[in-house]
Amino acid sequence: MSFQRTQKVAGRMFAGAYRSIRTKLLSWFLIVTLIPLFSLGALSYYQSARIINSQFGKYGDNAVAQLEQQTSSTLSRMKQTAETIYSYLLDPSRMGIGNQAPTTYRDILEKNDFESLLKSLRTQLTAGIYIITTSGYYYGENNLDVAKLDRIPLWRSKPKAYAGTYWLGFYPQDHFIKSSDSGNRSVIGLAVPIHHPDKSQDGSIILIEEYAEELLQMFRQFEQDTHAHLQISSPDGTVIYETDAAYSPKDSDVTWSRTLAVNQWTLEARIPAKAFYRSSGIIRANTMTVAILSCLLAFGIAYLFSSRFTSRIRTLKDSMQKVSFGKLDTRTPIDGRDELGSLDMSFNRMVTGIQELIGEVERSERLKKEAELRAFHYQINPHLLFNTLNSIQWKARLEGAEDIRLMLYHLTMVLEGNLDISQELVTLRRELRMIEHFLKVQEIRYGEVFRYRLECDDSLLPYLIPRMTLQPLFENIFFHAFTDGEGEIDMSIRMDGDDLVLMLRDNGAGMKEEQLARLFSPEVKRKGRGGLGVRNADQKFKLHFGPLYGLTVYSVKGEGTTITIRWPKKEESDDVGNRENQGADCR
């Protein structure tokens, strides 16, 4: 159950690792940190562990060699002392050294000489030199109690018949007549039996004892220094010395072993593998600790860094999300001048652009709606208007008022163009025809006082132009530029690359600078309708073709006005063409 859960959590984390840039960043950071860290740590561990192990091995070997040397020197000194005594006793002239207590002057003299030899053999380390005869009488210092010799463990267990040297090992010297108050000192003992069948001292035993505290101290020091288990055993397997009897040797133990040349004792130091590798274990533990700490540190730093890094990305992402939800006034804060900062900046710029564009679109949509509404308003009852106009026309014919009838006819034509809002873009041909109807109306009104000249190649007539853009301009000319309809109007349409350029010039009143400036500004309230046509026309072009296109007005007060319109060449599509029968004629 819990396993499944952990699996799920791990899975989520794993999946998350692929999703979150932060996790990726973190893992890369860690990998980059940990690989050198661990390889360095492992390298230093293996190298120092190797050196330490080999040094410790050498140290142990040397220490054991030193123990061997010290023990050897003690043992050989003792053996030498025994040999000196032995050879003294072998001297045929020493007849007085018997196996009984000497009582005669001569024997005592011999005994005294012998004992002064024993005394001269003593060194600082000598604990005792005795020759114990078969009778129980002994030579040497008077302090020995022969009966207590059995307190020496190996003395008790010494075989009945033995030859050469017999080492008694380490034991407390506890065989004095007077029990020592200040504790019994540790000694090492050697027993040498005398084989001399012809002499009375045959069977006597030379007992040499040396203080062993220094040796034992060395052993203990060694044990303490190396945590080794030290064991000295004689060739027959008797344990002479042992650190701890409870110690059970293992095959994995590191051992140093020496054999004493003097008596074939084996000196063996054993260190459990665990203890031997303890130092390197400490190094390993330290290396691990440092590695783990560095790991945590790296993780922490990576976490901090990546959180700083990704939080910026996240802020940006959040901002984008907000924008995507339509909050266009969202701006992301700019931290720093790095790539992310410039990303932030670009984002902000982009959102500003989008916001402006959308505002533009919104406004144009609104304008369109307004225009449509207005048109709808005009359309309220065109039939009524046209019927009425037709009635008036009919009446005028009946009355013989040809002028009025003509005027009405042309007005009807103009109004038809005006009121047909089914298309926003119409052909040049249609727009020009409507202008002609408009001019006819003006001609009837003012008489033939103005001149209109059109310069337009027929091939340009099928191209599209926004509806009702030229008529207001002409209206402006008659209402503002001309007085009583007098003046000249020149209009030329030509092709300029992919664009069409229309130039409308009059020689009317012209405009002053400020008037000119006011023409395109939407804010200024105008008196009357004057000038509205220019701005509307310009907006229409811009609306349909983009801000690069539209009107430019050049005017000099008293000299007339020139309006230039530029818009892209665009032919009507088929479906548009089908609905416009006159357009079809042109083709």
Partner: protein
């Protein structure tokens, strides 16, 4: 090898501990260094007596700033180590000394110091003590302590047996009688204890008391002295007491020392110097002392065991050594040394030691100690003594004293020629 390495270790430890100090680490070879003078003082004492000597050394250091007294306790190895020190021209500055005939050539004559230095107050000493420190006419040792030999007795055992305590003026007959009455083999209790290996020096009082001696007064002849009837008789007497069971051998192979047996209440009487007195009292023995018994009709003679202080001829600090000796025999130091008898009459009077019944016999015996011991009479005495010791020992094991001594004299003659 071992000693060298230990020394090196000690030196490095000192260097380690004393780092940044005033650098007063001493080398035993070179006494003076960086303002601190080390005076080496060798003694044969151990235990309590050694402790007292160390205290005196400390007192001396206090009154002599810049001085360190290094007390070297040679114990049993005294002769060996001293001889080695002289041999290597590296002896202690001041040392305990008794065997002047052997060592006087390595010692500094002290007459000039003693006569010039009024502080010593040489007249206050028991004058007889100076005889032991003189070789020829030169004084080589200032008496530091001495003892005479007395008989200790266990009052409890005397009381139990209903025997009156012995008094000055008693005889060896009285002694043997008492010993016999205080012997009870069933309890392993004996009247007297005899050393298996006697120091012949200690036996001189006994021999002199019987009108004998080991050597002629001019120190040239032993024949007729060492094996004289009187000498043999005196030694035979000890052998006889062992034979008849009124005395027990002590201190031999497998035997307890006489002092231990006495402390155990198994011998009623014991003959010795002042050394064991303190330990007897500590062991809870109600002990009494009495002067040595006399041979009927003969004056009691005593033998004096003296310890003196000497200065090595090779010493580099002889003046300081003299100061130390002077301090060692001052009233203050003498009073500290309870294991010795005071060498100054003034101290004895002040402490009323000669009035104390326990101490009085030592002073009585001091008055009786006017014979010159053999070792002062002949420089070859040590060689002769080897035979004499064997002879005396054989008597303890049942040999006839006269025969043994005759043999010893015969074997020793060649050393005196």
């Amino acid at each position: 090898m071992v000693i060298v390495s230990v020394m090196a270790l000690t030196a490095s430890m000192l260097a380690g501990c004393g780092g940044g100090g005033t650098g007063t680490a001493q080398e035993p070879d070179n006494g003076s260094q960086a303002g601190v003078t080390t005076l080496r003082f060798a003694t044969w004492d151990t235990g309590d007596a050694l402790k007292i000597e160390q205290d005196i050394a400390k007192k001396f250091e206090e009154s002599h700033p810049g001085t360190k007294v290094q007390v070297e306790a040679y114990a049993d190895g005294f002769d060996q180590k001293l001889a080695a020190g002289f041999g290597a021209a590296n002896p202690p500055d001041v040392m305990y000394m008794w065997d002047f005939p052997t060592y006087h050539q390595s010692l500094e004559p002290l007459d000039d110091y003693a006569s010039k230095d009024k502080d010593l107050n040489i007249d206050d000493f028991y004058q007889g003590l100076f005889n032991y420190g003189k070789i020829g006419d030169k004084l080589y040792g200032i008496p530091a302590g001495f003892t005479t030999r007395v008989v200790y007795y266990n009052k409890k055992l005397f009381d139990e047996a209903g025997i009156a305590y012995p008094n000055d003026g008693w005889t060896w007959t009285d002694f043997q009688d008492i010993a016999k009455r205080l012997t009870d083999p069933s309890k392993k209790q004996y009247g007297f204890g005899v050393r298996a290996e006697n120091d012949t020096y200690d036996l001189q009082g006994l021999v002199w008391s019987n009108g004998g001696s080991f050597i002629s007064e001019d120190g040239t002849t032993i024949e007729g002295y060492m094996n004289s009837k009187e000498t043999a008789e005196a030694i035979q007497m000890l052998g006889d007491m062992l034979k008849n069971g009124t005395a027990v051998l002590a201190g031999g192979k497998g035997q307890q020392s006489g002092e231990d047996i006495f402390k155990a209440g198994k011998i009623a009487m014991w003959e010795s110097g002042i050394w064991p007195l303190e330990s007897f009292r500590e062991a809870g023995i109600d002990v009494g002392t009495v002067e040595m018994p006399a041979f009927p009709g003969k004056p009691v003679k005593g033998v004096l065991a003296e310890s003196a202080l000497s200065i090595a001829k090779d010493s580099k600090h002889k003046d300081l050594a003299w100061e130390f000796i002077k301090f060692y025999v001052s009233d203050e130091a003498i009073k500290m040394r309870v294991a010795d008898l005071p060498v100054r009459a003034s101290v004895v009077n002040e402490l009323k030691k000669d009035q104390d019944p326990l101490y009085k016999p030592y002073y009585t015996m001091l008055e009786r100690s006017d014979n010159t011991p053999a070792f002062l009479l002949n420089p070859k005495w040590n060689e002769v003594n080897r035979q004499l010791s064997a002879a005396v020992e054989s008597v303890m094991f049942g040999s006839d004293a006269q025969e043994a001594l005759n043999q010893a004299v015969k074997d020793s003659e060649r050393y005196l020629k």
